[in-house]
């Protein structure tokens, strides 16, 4: 190859990106200018450099023009660096002789003045031309990938991802925080738009998880630490004590009846507090695992130590109840991670004008899911908190969505689940149902048809954001009821509509601990607080940390079909990595010029990966390239400038600085 000797011959390729770049930057002038820069042998512009003919230009020129350096002025290296490296390799040149110039995201898309944008592009290309001359041939290192996967979160996303990978023969650890898997989907009554029973389609999958030989399920557990890197993550999981041993419990549930509390007294989380449970409980009848859990906050024995412990009596010689259970720590090694930690619903108390928490007959949508459910707290009978059945119901959309004062985003599922609840409430009670919406969003298979069905069921649709729910009446017809005040924006006047029940379609938001989880897994959140995907279109389930994938609502609100599809995609990406068995890593590691090292050990203290050790015999530092992640902090910290970094050599960066400022 020509790279090691002889003169530097650079090819510069300026991409138009249609009009994305060419509309602002004068690409002809840029190409012409680049041609005149030192060492530039070829300078070309092309409509789409990333297209096959564009890449062919590079391949062809490497061969025909004996190029040994390539500069591509186009988009972000995060998008197409791999593309142009591959093209370079295909042309017979080491792929690390490429430097990209980001004249789209960093130039044409953010500036409006043609002259200034072009000037900036000239500077950037000049810097790259200077830099690339200092590039060297590098080889990618290979890291092996362990065939085990970790799935965090046991809602429908986590369940589907775990089953997919387990079915492909990989061992999967599924970690769930709650005492059961199932997530929010287990709480839903029916699913839109088909009105399948949510439990009927979910519980078989939950059982499949339990029975799958390739799945280790840890519920009531948290991931507390993760170290390592793609293919080789060391994960620590803390399993909280449920005080009932999963290995000994047979799931007879006699202990529940045996509890000294003959009346259940504790608000039932699964039923959104609409029913009570005992201190020893299982969240719902189909819970997986079928092992009860004791809540130490409410158990008399834990609170006072003076309980008759009838649960233990009932359990008898099965000895499954162990009040001295301690938290257990598990250490596992996995190659990939799928995060499926889900969402939380908006706290309706944050919108006090809708009266949630003030007026008993104001409900959240999730409460209604339980209320209409046949196995719910009322057996599916819609009974008001104040007693009786509602004759009219108002469903308020966009509570905690599309609102700068609370959450800005559209939660995507509320229109459809509100339609579903409208249908179910009408079906269960025959009540008159009013929907109050800002915009009706039904973009999905069968969704618009469902909307039509609801219209034909004579459900009222009033376009307007509700101003308030009040019990202050203006007329005898309103007395003792809740009045919804809203501008009917289509009819063009303000209306007061008395109802017996108000349902708040609360939005979806990131979990309260999303930021901690993000830090734990070293990934990023979007402004809203949902986990950020690597690329919104081209890498929607990847993160910026290799080997960690996203599934479900932790990445943004979505409905069940989309969640399952995304979970499948995340599983497939993880499987692709694990099946390949190894991955190439960026050769941007640091290395020590032994002969110049003064042995001061400054570098050792700054390395977060313990990749640097001190070689006593030689009195110098040495860097383990497998552990080095390529941050370059030690390079900057080294007082004798003896540590260097591949791909980010000092000369390369100095050349870039000089290139930028040459004509300044």
């Amino acid at each position: 190859m020509s790279e090691s000797n002889g003169t530097v011959r650079i090819g510069v390729y300026v991409c138009h990106c249609g009009t994305n770049i060419a509309g602002i930057v004068d690409v002809k002038a840029l190409t012409h200018y680049a041609a005149g820069l030192p060492n530039v042998a070829v300078s070309r512009d092309y409509k789409y450099m990333c297209s096959d003919p564009g890449q062919d230009l590079i391949r062809q020129d490497i061969r025909d023009q004996h190029l040994n350096r390539i500069v591509v002025a186009s988009c972000s290296p995060h998008l197409h660096e791999a593309t142009f490296r591959n093209a370079t390799r295909a042309g017979g040149l080491n792929p690390f002789f490429v430097q990209m110039v980001n004249i789209r995201e960093h130039d044409s898309w953010v500036h409006t003045n043609h002259a200034e944008a072009t000037l900036k592009a000239l500077d950037m290309v000049r810097a790259a031309v200077r830099r690339v001359a200092h590039h060297e041939a590098l080889e990618k290192a290979r890291v092996s990938i362990r065939p085990e996967a970790l799935v965090v979160g046991g809602g429908i996303a986590g369940i589907h991802a775990a089953l997919t990978m387990a079915n492909a023969g990989k061992h999967v650890y599924l970690v769930e925080r709650e005492p059961t898997i199932g997530g929010h989907m287990a709480q839903f009554d029916k699913t839109f738009p088909t009105l399948d029973c949510s439990a009927c389609i979910l519980t078989p999958k939950m059982s499949a998880v339990k029975n799958h030989p390739n799945i280790t399920l840890w519920t009531y557990s948290d991931v507390t630490a993760i170290e390592g890197y793609v293919g080789n993550y060391n994960v620590t999981i803390t399993r909280r004590p449920r005080y009932v041993r999963e290995d000994l419990c047979v799931g007879c549930l006699e202990c529940l009846e045996g509890c000294v509390y003959k009346q259940a007294k504790v608000p039932d989380e699964f039923n959104m507090g609409l029913s009570k449970r005992r201190p020893i409980y299982i969240p719902f009848p189909q819970a997986v695992p079928q092992t009860p859990v004791i809540d130490p906050e409410t158990c008399i024995q834990f609170k006072s130590g003076k309980c008759k412990k009838t649960c233990i009596e009932v359990c008898g010689d099965r000895h499954a109840i162990d009040l001295y259970m301690e938290p257990r720590t598990e250490h596992i090694e996995v190659g990939t991670v799928v995060l499926a930690t889900g969402f939380q619903t908006y706290d309706a108390r944050r919108s006090p004008y809708y009266g949630y928490g003030t007026y008993p007959n104001v409900y959240t949508a999730l409460e209604i899911e339980r209320l209409v459910n046949a196995s719910g707290p009322t057996g599916g009978e819609v009974v008001l908190r104040t007693g009786g059945h509602p004759k009219s119901v108002g469903i308020i959309h966009c509570v905690g969505s599309r609102d700068e004062n609370t959450n800005r985003w559209c939660s995507r599922v509320c229109c459809m689940y509100s339609l579903k609840l409208a249908h179910l409430l009408k079906e269960h009670t025959g009540a008159e149902v009013f929907n109050f919406y800002i915009d009706m969003r039904t973009p999905g298979k069968g969704f618009e048809e469902f909307y039509q069905k609801l219209l034909s069921e004579r459900v009222h649709f009033i376009r307007g954001r509700v101003a308030e729910v009040t019990d202050a009446s203006l007329h005898s017809s309103e007395e003792g009821r809740l009045v919804i005040r809203v501008e009917d924006t289509l009819a063009g006047f303000v209306r007061r509509i008395p109802v017996d029940m108000v349902v708040l379609a609360t939005g979806l938001e990131p979990r309260a601990d999303a930021q901690e989880v993000r830090r734990l897994f070293n990934i990023t959140c979007s402004n809203e607080g949902f986990f950020l995907e690597r690329h919104p279109k081209l890498a929607p389930v990847q993160t910026f940390t290799d080997g960690i994938f996203l599934a479900g609502c932790c990445q943004g609100p979505k409905d069940i079909p989309d969640t399952v599809a995304q979970a499948g995609a995340a599983a497939a990406e993880a499987l692709a990595l694990m099946d390949a068995g190894c991955v190439e890593t960026e050769p941007n590691t640091a290395y020590v010029m032994e002969e110049a090292c003064c042995g001061c050990k400054t570098c050792i203290s700054v390395c977060p990966y313990h990749a640097i050790s001190f070689v006593d015999e030689k009195q110098v530092s040495a860097i383990n390239p497998v552990l080095c992640k390529g941050c370059g902090t030690c390079v900057a910290a080294c007082p004798s400038a003896t540590i260097r970094q591949h791909l980010f050599e000092d000369e390369q960066i100095f050349a870039e600085i000089e290139g930028i400022l040459e004509y300044a």
Partner: protein
């Protein structure tokens, strides 16, 4: 029968843009038309358009319709809409801006005493530095709708009897200075 067709040539998009540059009016183009403002407003039920439709008129540039509306004058500046708006649009400030524009363009509805009151108040404060409730209200009534006076006799008497109505109009001591301040023109 009123003809309710609007031709696009009647729209003044440049005016809309100019309005959006006034303090508090930045939000007109991000309005969702959700109606939270009109629903919250205690006075929208008396208005010809209500705040939501006023925003719709303004951002589409229907200047005359917006400025000659009664809606903007019925706004009592209670700020309920501004606090409730999911786009945090300062609806009250938009109303103020439109009131000023309407007075400047002399498009405000003449029968309405509210703009008259505003102007009388403005004059009183300009000349005395303080408001004189009695005289301002009296002049407003005389200029707009003297019949209002009839309805006021009773209240006026009650106020006078309880010592709450001052016929004397107070001056601020620094009135000369205040006048000088107010006469300064805005620097470009």
């Amino acid at each position: 029968m009123e003809r309710r067709l609007k031709l696009q040539k009647e729209a003044e998009p440049e005016w809309a843009r100019r309005i959006s540059e006034h303090p508090g009016c930045e939000g007109i183009f991000s309005c969702l038309q959700c109606g939270a403002c009109s629903g919250t407003c205690p006075l929208s039920i008396y208005m010809d358009f209500g705040p939501r439709r006023i925003i719709a008129l303004v951002r589409e540039g229907f200047r005359t319709a917006a400025l000659s509306s009664e809606t903007i004058w019925l706004c009592a500046s209670c700020y309920a809409c501004a606090v409730h708006c999911p786009r945090q649009i300062h609806v009250t400030d938009i109303m103020y801006t439109l009131k000023r524009e309407a007075i400047e363009a002399k498009l405000y509805p003449r029968r309405l005493p509210i703009p008259v009151l505003a102007q009388e108040f403005y004059r009183a404060v300009r000349s005395r530095g303080k408001n004189a409730e009695f005289w301002v209200v009296l002049r407003m009534a005389v200029k707009s709708n003297p019949l209002i006076l009839l309805s006021m006799i009773h209240t006026g008497w009650a106020l006078l009897r309880t010592g709450r109505l001052s016929l004397h109009s107070e001056h601020a001591d620094g009135i000369a200075e205040i006048k000088r301040y107010l006469d300064m023109r805005e620097v470009a």
